[in-house]
């Protein structure tokens, strides 16, 4: 067991054990737990099977007794955000799961209708179609219903250029990432945020004094302050349920196993297999997010399978834990302090002696 001297790498800049940055095979051990601690747990959120039912949001709210949501977005009188079916808006102090909805389209070049198809005929012989008898016009319209190009006149989701459009929905249940190197945990000055024996990051409500430093230190914008309370809140990965051998509420409620809970190494293996399957099926945009332990936060305890770039879902494309650069900052601050002493000293020494 490594001895836990306070996080001296922040001052010295020497970090051979990756205590500030980089892969960390045993986060609980680094946090001071004995070797017999439980395995690190986490979430694998497979957004390719998310159906956007928000059961996770509801289960989380019910289990954790969260007040009404606090997304500070623009919304109308009945509480609709206008962001597709997303009226939660964002993760926050009172929303520890957030289902994002993104409606997307893309242009696909369908094979142009061959000569002789009713739609093509109708378009090619526009003037003559106008002269046609009512009977043949009705016939043309009826048969054209089956034609993609003709549909484009009635279906607002299809294009007008002859090329057709595909529509898809991305739905993703976002959650606290329980980072290997958690910015919120690093900067908490009271010790209210701590690493649990399961490798997750939890706020102790009776310790937090609402300094708010964790809020801008999270590279994902997860943790936030409850305005009427003053303290900060975020996902605990249902710490209370874990200690009783239960799964987190959201994973239990998820009807499609989009949210999978388990030991992190098992989830990672499962995610790698799932990604390989999707790639095999031709889903070229599938990728894992937060899986790489060489990323800026040392990998996430809660990671995702996404179907588009992270920022489409409101996730940062390349997050880095802010404390990686803290040794450089302390050095600069020390240099700045020395500069002040030096300037003051030379200002006094360089001045005439008072009479």
């Amino acid at each position: 067991m490594t001895s836990i001297s306070s996080a001296s790498p922040a001052f010295t800049g020497r970090d051979p054990d990756n205590r500030l940055f980089g892969p960390l095979p045993d986060v609980q051990g680094e946090a001071g737990y004995d070797d017999d601690h439980p395995a690190r747990v986490g979430f694998f959120t497979d957004t390719s099977v998310c159906i956007g039912c928000k059961a996770c949001e509801v289960a989380c709210k019910e289990w954790n007794l969260l007040p009404m949501d606090d997304s500070h977005g623009a919304r109308d009188v009945i509480g609709l955000s206008g962001m597709s079916y997303d009226n939660t808006g964002q993760l926050g102090a009172n929303s520890w799961r957030h289902v994002a909805f993104i409606e997307q389209s893309r242009t696909v070049d369908l094979p142009m209708p061959a000569v002789g198809l009713p739609g093509a005929t109708r378009q090619d012989s526009g003037p003559s179609a106008a002269n046609a008898t009512g009977d043949s016009l009705a016939h043309a319209q009826q048969s054209s219903v089956l034609n993609a190009e003709a549909l484009s006149e009635f279906d607002p989701q299809t294009g007008q250029t002859g090329a057709d459009k595909q529509i898809r929905w991305l739905m993703s249940s976002d959650v606290c990432k329980h980072c290997t190197h958690a910015g919120c945990l690093d900067v908490c000055p009271t010790g209210a945020l701590f690493r649990t024996e399961f490798g997750t990051v939890v706020v102790q409500g009776d310790i937090c004094n609402g300094c708010g430093y964790c809020v801008p230190s999270c590279p994902y914008g997860v943790i936030n302050q409850r305005k009427d309370d003053g303290r900060v809140f975020k996902c605990t990965l249902c710490y209370d349920r874990l200690t009783d051998g239960l799964q987190p509420a959201c994973a239990t409620a998820c009807p499609t196993q989009s949210i999978q809970f388990g030991n992190l190494d098992e989830l990672q293996a499962r995610a790698d297999a799932r990604l390989a399957t999707l790639k095999e099926q031709g889903v070229e945009t599938a990728r894992l997010y937060g899986r790489d332990e060489n990323d800026g936060v040392g990998g996430n305890g809660a990671f995702f399978l996404l179907l588009d770039e992270p920022e489409v879902y409101g996730l940062p494309p390349d997050p880095i834990v802010t404390t990686r650069d803290l040794p450089a900052m302390w050095r600069a601050a020390a240099a700045g302090a020395a500069m002040i002493v030096g300037v003051a000293l030379s200002a006094v020494l360089g001045s005439r002696r008072p009479r």
């Binding site: 922040a10 409606e103 996730l315 390349d318 020390a334 700045g336 002493v341 001045s351």
Partner: protein, 344 residues
């Protein structure tokens, strides 16, 4: 353009709105091209989730936190000046410096506690000491500093315990330098793009600003015969502040932008005007009573406005996903290019 790097893959675009936000053309500043030629750079596209910010903006209150930054800086540099002035036999300057340091530190503690979500729990700050948390380290700088500086100012006012006064002045002087610059680390050690990107420069912005404010206020308050060290510190500090701010504002990166636009831009421009005017006035007329007071007040105002400007620029950069996504995309692209050039 940068298709595939900064845009969603495989041609997918958001169906119900603009596909992605195109950044406005931005004048590249500080290009230094002769003949006033200005390079216009075509900006990359970036994508966001309905324009929502990615990181959460700080919940710190304004004016509490900018005022804390200003007062801590002015008090810190004054304490350093006061301790040295005391040892060199300048009682008038020492007294002025001790009042600035004591008043500033006590007020800054008040602002800091008021900013907490649970002010009655401010002592929880002393439960632990964590060098990964600038706020924790700062607590152990601010506590002894404000205790020493406040006590020194109080006994100075009452005229008691001269030897204790000198000891308190030296203790506050030791903590004064860190007090003035740790606040820069406090801001920079966040995910806020326009603060974090300048994490090695902000301590010098704050250090220079602190000396301009502390030196300026001491110059204004000290008797004219003894104010020369304060004037010199204020002049050098103002010069460092202007130079360091220039380094932050003129960076090529997009995260410099918030320092130019909106409310933060107004603050920064006003700060520059105040500091430059105060600097000139201190050099030319700092030896007269009127000149010392006017330039001291101007330099303090410049320092205060700099803190408000830096604070606001960070808040603005946190609220716009552009400043989070674009630098991260550029970083990824640079990394990819670096990897390729190595393998080739």
């Amino acid at each position: 353009m940068t298709e595939g790097v900064a845009t969603p893959g495989a041609g997918w675009r958001r169906a119900d709105g603009p596909p992605s936000q195109r950044r406005q053309k931005r004048r590249r500043r500080g290009g230094g091209r002769p003949g006033g030629e200005v390079a216009m750079v075509e900006e990359a596209e970036f994508t966001s989730y309905y324009g929502r910010p990615i990181i959460k903006p700080p919940v710190w209150k304004t004016p509490d936190v900018p005022l804390y930054l200003f007062l801590g800086g002015a008090a810190g540099s004054s304490a350093v000046l006061g301790a040295i002035a005391d040892l060199s036999g300048r009682p008038g300057l020492t007294r002025a410096a001790r009042y600035v340091a004591g008043g500033g530190s006590i007020a800054s503690v008040g602002f800091l506690i008021h900013d907490l979500g649970r002010p009655e729990r401010f002592l929880h700050m002393l439960r632990v000491i964590k060098v990964t948390s600038p706020l924790s380290v700062g607590t152990y700088i601010l506590s002894p500093f404000s205790a020493a500086a406040g006590a020194t100012a109080a006994v100075e006012l009452l005229g008691w315990f001269p030897r204790l006064k000198r000891f308190g002045g030296i203790v506050s002087g030791l903590f004064g330098g860190p007090m003035a610059t740790y606040t820069a680390v406090l801001l920079a050690n966040t995910a806020v793009p326009s603060w974090h990107a300048f994490h090695t420069r902000l301590p010098f912005v704050f250090g220079g600003s602190a000396m301009a404010a502390g030196g300026g206020l001491c110059m204004a308050l000290a008797p004219l015969a003894e104010s020369e060290p304060a004037r010199k510190m204020a002049i050098i500090g103002a010069g460092i502040e202007l130079a360091a701010v220039r380094g932050v504002e003129n960076d090529e990166s997009v995260v410099s932008e918030p320092y130019h636009i909106g409310r933060a831009g107004t603050f920064m421009r006003a700060a520059k005007a105040c500091t430059a005017t105060g600097l000139g006035l201190a050099v030319l007329g700092g030896r007269t009573r009127v000149g010392a007071v006017a330039s001291g007040v101007l330099l303090a105002a410049g320092s205060l406005l700099t803190r408000f400007g830096v604070f606001d620029a960070g808040m603005a950069s946190a609220r716009d996903p552009k400043y989070t996504v674009v630098p991260q995309r550029e970083r990824m692209a640079a990394r990819e290019a670096g990897v390729h050039s190595v393998t080739r």
